[in-house]
Amino acid sequence: MSIALSVDKLSVIYDHFHALKDVSVDIETGESFGLVGESGSGKSTLLRAVAGLAPVASGSIKIHGDPLVGTKRSKAFYRQVQMVFQDPYGSLHPRQTIDRLLLEPLAIHGISDSDTRIARALDEVGLGNGFRFRYPHQLSGGQRQRVAIARALIVEPSILLLDEPTSALDASVQAEVLNLLEQVRHDRNLTFVMVSHDLGVVTHMCDRLAVMRNGTVVERLTSAQLAQAAVTEDYTRNLMVASKGFVKA
């Protein structure tokens, strides 16, 4: 199997704050990879660095073997790699209709037959054509996140970066969005890099995962190992206890 995304000794420094320290991960084509950790552990920073949204101090990022330089990304890169953000309330333009929102990436990349593509994209994420000329404020959180997924998929990328795609959603809606993501991954043979603080969600979605803390990877596991509680780090164990929920003393 070929490596879809390779991150080698990546460091990100904001002013004097070391957000990422020498992080290396290799993600294979068609794989679903999870990043777990608490806030401030650098898991989102890693995704943002790949997307060119964080100041890389040192290290290298390769997409299908091609190195990325600096924070500038080419158009070709964005056809390969798309990102879905955490907050569906903040990531859609409030004054553009869904149609306009989905047209934007097509216009940028000069893709023709936009009409059929938009209809297909909406259909794929389970929203009918009735949603096409609505505004984001007329949709629920789950529907907005579907639009954000449709917007990412419309340029037919091969890698999808998912930054806590369901943490702003209700548990019942989360299940629907996770099912949708699994479905599209299966249909299009996508590579997922998924950030979440919820171990349950990550083990459900991903084959392998990395546990992050203070800007470094503290442990690498497969989902099966996690399910058998074969963890070596106390930190991971703490996360596991936390995900089991509250136990009365």
Binding site: E38, S39, S140, G141, D170, A171, S172, V173, Q174, A175, E176, L178, N179, E182, Q183, H197, D198, L199, G200, V201, T203, H204, M205, L226, A227, Q228, N238, L239, M240, V241, A242, S243, K244, G245, F246, V247, K248, A249
Partner: protein, 277 residues
Amino acid sequence: MTDLLTVQNLKVSYPTRTGVIEAVRGVSFTLGKERLGIVGESGSGKSQTGRAIMGLTPKHGIVSADKLDFNGIDLLATSAKQRRQLRGKRIAMVLQDPKYSLDPVMSIGRQICETLRTHEKVGKAEARDRALAMLEAVQIRDPKRVFDLYPHEVSGGMGQRAMIAMMLIADPELLIADEPTSALDVTVQLDVLRIMDRLVSERGMGLIFVSHDLRLVSSFCDRVIVMYAGKVVEELKASDLKNARHPYTQGLLNCMPQIGESRHPLPVLDRKPEWAA
């Protein structure tokens, strides 16, 4: 057991240009010195129920009930002044996100002292001492330092502890916690819950815990009310959760992915129109 709070047929509605939105449509329950969980999705009216009890429904909203009684006080007939005396002193509320619900231009210590001095006649020095003791009770390691910090200088977990300290300092009889841990990290959530758990049982207050997380609520509370579209669809003991009968409750229980489980695809809620009837 004497009832601390009796709610009968509570309704909250908001008139809008396009018609009346009924956020809560006839909720009834009683609460003693126990922990009651209210669970539902966004828009189910769970927060509106808590806010109506607290008297925080916006002015244009209409609250009506056959009975809304707190320890013999008819909450619907109280004046704004009486409400203010109740609020913070006898009924307190912990809100979801400490980032937005603490005063950003007031130090944490001053905010706690303010609550205390509004409701009790205490001197500055005593208020300070009690605030420090309270900060210690919510397991803040260095209360003296945190006392002088501003909300933006502390983490989410610390802010939420400060808010709990602020709400408990006047020794309320009823605490309403509206998603107190949803904005926090999983690891911090448990700490905050443990602190709330201990303080609530030590002080013997009634607790209404509003959340969308059914599992969390059932592990924390004695009794759970499940709300859907502004109505109570099921009320059950937390220990009886496995025997939940309503398909909505069962759906909420099943839809969370768990470690060591392989269910692809996850079961989703099949919403029936008759649930909202």
